[in-house]
């Protein structure tokens, strides 16, 4: 039967796939998508813990709802930024955006 360990390992794999995407991808949108992957992995974690360790409570699921909301808000702002950058520089390559350096 499905145990907590199964779910957690699954979310760990998903999470590390997300990390790879964030670190290794060139396009800003690709990085954003990888971040969404990481969010989902965390959500799976939360629901799994809720179900297996605290089955009488629903706080895990409530928190997941809030996380989904926050992730959606973040995606919105991030994509608005992407559009703004694209308008200004026509280039979404992460390596070319180094204005943070003195």
């Amino acid at each position: 039967m499905i145990t907590l360990a199964h779910m957690l390992c699954l979310s760990a794999i998903l999470f590390s796939i997300g990390i790879y995407g964030v670190l290794a991808r060139k396009s800003l949108i690709a990085i954003l998508m990888s971040v969404e992957l990481m969010f989902n992995a965390a959500n799976i974690n939360l629901v799994a813990f809720n179900r297996f360790l605290y089955p009488d409570s629903l706080w895990g699921q409530g928190l997941v709802l809030l996380v989904i909301t926050v992730a959606a808000a973040e995606a919105v702002v991030g994509l608005a930024l992407v559009i703004a950058i694209y308008r200004n520089t026509k280039n979404l390559n992460a390596d070319d955006l180094h204005l943070l350096h003195d």
Binding site: L8, I19, M33, S34, L58, Q61, V77, V82, I83
Partner: protein
Amino acid sequence: MTLPLGIFYALSALMIGFSLVVVTSRNLFRGAMCLTASMGFVAAFFALLGGDFLAASQLLIYVGGVMVLILFVVMFVQTPDLFRARQTSVRWIPALLLAGGVGALFIRAFCHIESPTELPVLQPTSTALGHLLLGDMAVPFEVISLVLLAALVGALVFGLERES
């Protein structure tokens, strides 16, 4: 191998597969579609774990909202010649190592975790979630609406065309 476990492995294999496409594909549009599929599978897992309301909201919000948004932006910025350009930068080796390291660490920590054998029967969660959100979780619930407001305003500020 019982049926639930078999379904679980099948679903997880599919989800991992789609996610891998997301992080490796050269074609951003393909990546976005695969991400949508991956999120659908996440909803399936939510349902498996007893979060029926959660599964539905995941589909509605993520698939129906966020992914549509990402697809719009992808189509907005993609030009045909970019389909051919390499998407993965040369730092993929250290990235792979780091990601693998993190994953291995987590798996090592989690694979022997204790799990109860007797679990209560799954119940519909909508009513209980409603009571929770408007009761004990009322304050975060209200604050979240402020967060959404801030995100809306921020997106508008960034997204508006400036007349120059």
